[in-house]
Structure formats: structure tokens, C-alpha cells
Amino acid sequence: MSRIGVFVCHCGTNIGGVVDVPKVVEAAKQMPLVVFADENKYTCSELGQASIRNAIDEHRLDRVVVAACSPRMHENTFRRTVAAAGLNPYLLEIANIREHCSWVHSDHDEATVKAIDHVQMAVAKVARHEALFPKTIGLTKRALVIGGGVTGIQAALDIAATGHEVVLVEREPSVGGRMAQLDKTFPTLDCSACILTPKMVDVAQHPNITLLSYSEVKEVRGFVGNFEVDILKKAKMVDHSKCTGCGTCWQKCPGKVSSEFDLGLGQRTAIYIPFAQAVPNKPVIDLENCRYQTFLKWDESQGGKKPPECRICEKICPTKSIDWEQQDEIVTEKFGAIVVATGFKTFDHSVYGEYGGGRYPDVISSLQLERLMSAAGPTEGEVVRPSDGAHVKNVVFVQCVGSRDDRVGRPYCSKVCCMYTAKHAIMLKEHDPDVQCYVFYIDVRAGGKDFEEFARRAQDESGAIYLRGRVSHIYQDGKNLKVLGEDSLIGRPVEIEADLVVLATGMEASDNADTLAQTLNISYTIYNFLIEAHPKLRPVETQTDGVFVAGSAVGPRDIPECVAHGSAAAVKAVALLSQDSLKSDPLTSIVDPMKCVGCFACKVVCPFNAIEEQVTRDKRTVSSINENLCKGCGLCVVACRPGAINLRGFTSQQLLSEVLTLVRE
């Protein structure tokens, strides 16, 4: 038989002013199993807590009900209180008689009746409570960072700085991400490469960081502190342990293809580094375009001339680093924490038929303009037309391409386009004072430090003409482009002859972000952006413990935000890795293997992959809960028809006891 103590709080007059507290105490004394009931002015005060501790001692209480404010407020406080008196902290139940009673009801009698009912429910529930004990689990003190853009780089460096090992996985042959493609950054006009490359080099050189470029995460098993990750290392065909990155091979390679990094505006070779400052500064061979591969695959029956064997890279490599035998390889690594920073890609504007659908060479994306403006880009910083190489004079910018547009399924704002277009207008004017820029916009969103000033500068100092309205049509007219739009402020159609049109393409989640999210068991929006645990208060955590998200993989963000989130995720990861062991929340599901019939409805509904299959001694396959993965939602409990699963802290017995106090009185 339990010995339950009930402590009813006046909360000053917050409760006592409405609820007849002494009456509640008297009613509590009559409830089954209650051996002690008392009232406090403020139960959460040191005095109030002491009275609970004393009563536990004096009356040998084994369970405690506190009738006070919401459990969301002080449940943990009172758990510590009862624990201090030697009780298991889970042998406590809170009756919410403030937020759910005295604060919302003015009739004293009704409020008192309700308070008594809530106390009775809590008493009935706590009688069914059991002592619960968190489990201690060990952890691997290493972090995995997925994505080597500026966010991932920042996160990796910050984690590494605390002495923890980091593995940074990057899908491309080099880290750097989108920021590496930019010329300057707004609103300071810092050279993007100048501020990024030192960090890229730091990553490569940091003793605590292992960089796995040209690699992808394939499979994630385990749980917080104990992840096991399969990483696919794609075959580079170059032995990076021998290669010095001297560059002879990519200078001599005859296989020329369009450069992804330069977005089709320049070329690269088949053995290549994506850009000059690439890290690692060692090449990979693009087998699709390698002449030796074409030679190997050549089939006489297809006719034509047999291609040359090539193998020039192999012949000229001074360190004999070319390795034609290399294969894709999967390595399995253990981590305690994972930071996801998979970034974004730009919207593909070819879906806009009215903008030429990608057919006009002189209608380019903003990111392409960045490459044109970059001194390290395909034109060495000369802004010329892709079609004929002519210098540009009239440039039209079209905003919100793939942003704020329901028609293309992108209703959200990409946040950075207004600012980078202002930057482009300013930069173009700086390059060539004769250039005239026109900007078709919907709104200019310039919220941010120095942003509004910067956007004004594009108009006031650089003379860009901002036209509020959508562009309805762009077409080729001789060598130039005609841009038809509307200036909605004066309500008149506008026609501008341009030699270059720049589309401010929005941000989208990077390719396969959804697949990766599924692998990691974190959620993602319908646009494939990752979802944080709480958009305000837990911005880098996810619903899966130990997995953190940062940067523009979560949603459109600019560089400083990405860096800040990278650091934030790093701190969260480090906070986790700095612990000697982890304590699991004991409020998890539990399976009675005798009752389980092995239908595994639980496994199907569990959002956290916490249900495992287990074979009993009598050879039945039954479910069992991985308590480290279980979050205590209770979905499995309801899915389980035979009632083999229960949820600690919210057992069916406990909830039913509460209900029965209401209906059987």
C-alpha cells in the first residue's frame, strides 16, 4: 500500500485567491492511499520544498502529489525535491490547479471542485507510478560534419578546436561550397575567396580534422553518442597520399569539358580540381570524360575510328599517383554527434518560359554573374556576354526567380537575392562606370546590419534603376535582348533593351537533402529543407538527439547566419561530446514480450526507428524498444492491440486510473 502525501500550494493568492485550498487539503486527506496532506504559501520556495522533504521523512511518504502550477513549470524542481528526500524523482505527480484552474475560473466553488478532481486524478495516477532510472550510456567522442561549405567548415573547425576529432564529409572534390563560387560578399564587399580559403586550408591542416572529399554519407545506424555511419568514398583514381598537387596532369589533360564550378561558363579537364584554390588541392579523374576510359570502352562493332589510349596524366605524373584500379569504397566510422550542413543549390530558371527557358545565352543566373565577375573566373573578372564576348552596357536584373512564386512551387523568400543584386549593381558600376543597371523587383528586403544602406547605395550612388514589377517577357532581338515588364508604381508597361539579363535565382535545398534526412531520421519540409527541433529555441537541434543542423540546409540564409549556425551547432555537438556518459530519459516505451504477437505495427508507426526485433527463448520474434532511440511519444502503445507495449510515465493504467476517478464517483 502506498503512502501518498499531497501538498497544495496557495501560490500567494494566485491559487488561494480562487481555490479554497484548505478544503482541497481536507478532501485530499479522504482520498484512498493519502496519508498526509498539507498546504503551502509557496510550495516551490525553499520553505515549501523543505516541508515536502520533512513530510516524506516524518510520514514515510513513498509518493508525492504537488497541486500547484503547471508541471511544465516546476515538475523538475519538485522531482529534485523528492529526490533530495531519498525518493525516486519519478514518484511525483503534479496537479495543475493554477494555469488550468484558478487562473481561468472565477467561481470559487467550481474552481475548488475542479481542483479537488485534479488532485484526485494526480493521486490515482501517482499510486501507479514506479521508480524509474535513467540508463547510462557511453559515447564516441568524435563528430561527423556533413557538407564542406562555409557552414560545415566553421562547425568542423570549432569542434576541432575543443580537441575533439572531426570527420568532414564533402560530396564534391573540394570543400568551399557555394561561397567559393562568389566574387564578393555583401554588404562589405569583402573578397569571398580571400576570407574563405584560409578556413579551407585550416580544415585541411587541422590535426583533429579528417577531410573526406568526394565522399557521401550512405547509412546511419545507432543513436545519440553512438552513431555508426557508412561513408562512400568515391574512386578518385588518384592516390592522394602520393600526389603533391603539382598540377602537371590537369594542365596536360586533353579531355576538356564544361566546368560545373563555373556553371558552364568555362571549361575544365577530365582530371581536375574544381577551382584553383581547391582543398584538397589534388585532382580527381572524371571517368565519364576521361579519354582512357573511352578507349577502354570502345567497341569495334560500333564502327568508327579507335580512340587513342591517352593515359597522358599517368605518363607525366611525377609521383606515379594515377591509380586505375581504384574503386568506390565504403568506410564505417563511429561518431557521437552529427552536424548536417548540406547547404543549398540555386533554382533552375529554365522552368520560366517567359524568361527564355534557358535558351538565351545572355540570360544568366546571378551565380553565373558571380563567376563572370570573379578574377579567378572564366573571364578573369571581365563581365562580358556569354554569346559574343562583348562588354555589357545595359544590364537588367530580374528578382524573385524561383522565390515568392507559387506558380513554380516556391512561395518562400530566398532572403539573399535583394542584397546580392544590389551588390551586383554596385560592382558592375565599379567595373565600368558606363554600365546602366535596371532591377525589376517585388519588394526590396534589406533587413540586416548595414543592408538597407547598401541597397540604397545601389540606387543612389551606382544609379541602378529599380522598377517595381514583374517581367512578363524576355526575347532575343538581334544581338540584344528585349525585356518587357511593368512598372507597377506608375502603372505603365516598360520595355528595356539589354545586352545581359541576370535572373536572381532563389535558394533550394541541395540535391538529395531528403534522402539524407531520411537516413538520419530527421524531418524536412516539402521543399526538402531540414527541420530544426524548435525554430526559435532549438534552432540547431533536431528531433533526433545528437543530430544537429546548420546553415542554408535549414532554409535560405546568408553567410554570417550560416557561420553563426555552424558555430552554434558545433557548440551543441561539443556540449554533447564533452560528457563522460549520457543519461537516457527513462520515460520510454517498454514491451512485454509475453504479450507481443509480433505483428510489428509498432515498428511501422515508430517515428524514431526505436523498435527492434528480438527472438525469445521460445523462438517467437517480438519487438523490443531501443530505449536510447525512443522519445516516449507512445504511438506504439496505441498501435499495439494486445497491449504489449506501455509507456513509462504515461502508462495505460495511469491514464485509466485518472479517468476512472472522474467517471466512477
Partner: protein
């Protein structure tokens, strides 16, 4: 306690959104009738249809289940499963003579204190008007 013919409404509120929303109603002193008795559950997906049937079978006049808005579930998916279960359960209950109005499901976020108060007020008024349940 359904004396003086006031309807007994049993509310199951998910801890993360709706229970917090009811807390918010308190914090903002948004008054509502006192008939409802509130149980805290981790998720609307933890509310077992058996529990709801039990409430009715033992004489409750009405049941309210409140959870996070679709897409906001603390456990990602709990309310989606709940939604399906409740949709069918309500049909079955109605078919067996427990009017569909007596079993209400609402999505209430942690910030919707006023809305929670309004929901409970409307529900209580409706149930008072309908009167106690007839059978069993």
C-alpha cells in the same frame, strides 16, 4: 462529477502544444467554463481510442483531444496517426449512438491560449445544450 447536470468533459492534451496552450490560457487569464478535466499526455498519438470509448462507456458526456497542428508534432508524426484513428473512431461512436459532436479533436498550439479558452467555452456550451448522454 457530473452532478447539477453540468456536462463532464474529459480533455486529453498533448504535452508540447495543447497542454502548453492551456497553460497559456491560464497565463493570459482567458477564462472558460470549469467543466473540463484535463489529462496530460505526451502526444495526441498516445491517446488510445480505447480510452475514449472507456470515457463514454463510464458516463463522460464529452471528450476533447487536442494536439499539435499538423506538421508541428513534437514527434513529427503522432498527430497524423491520431487524426486517422480519431476520424474512424468518431464515425464508430456516432454510429453507436454517441453523437459525433461529443467527441471533438482540435489542434491547439502552445501560443493559442485564447483559442483554447474559446474552444472549451464553445464545446461546453454545446454540450450543455445537448444535455447528458442518454444510454448506458
Amino acid at each position: 462529477m457530473s452532478e447539477n447536470s453540468a456536462p463532464l468533459i474529459i480533455g486529453f492534451l498533448c504535452n508540447w502544444c495543447s497542454y502548453a496552450g492551456a497553460d497559456m490560457a491560464g497565463t493570459s487569464r482567458a477564462a472558460y467554463p470549469s467543466n473540463i478535466r484535463i489529462l496530460r499526455v505526451p502526444c495526441s498519438g498516445r491517446v488510445d481510442p480505447m480510452m475514449i470509448v472507456k470515457c463514454f462507456q463510464e458516463g463522460a458526456d464529452a471528450v476533447l483531444v487536442a494536439g499539435c497542428h499538423p506538421g508541428d508534432c513534437h514527434y513529427n508524426e503522432g498527430n497524423y496517426y491520431g487524426r486517422r484513428r480519431f476520424a474512424l473512431l468518431r464515425e464508430l461512436l456516432d454510429f453507436m449512438g454517441v453523437e459525433r459532436e461529443r467527441f471533438r479533436v482540435e489542434w491547439v498550439s502552445a501560443s493559442e491560449g485564447k483559442r483554447f479558452a474559446k474552444i472549451v467555452t464553445d464545446f461546453t456550451n454545446e454540450m450543455t445544450k445537448m444535455g447528458p448522454r442518454k444510454a448506458s
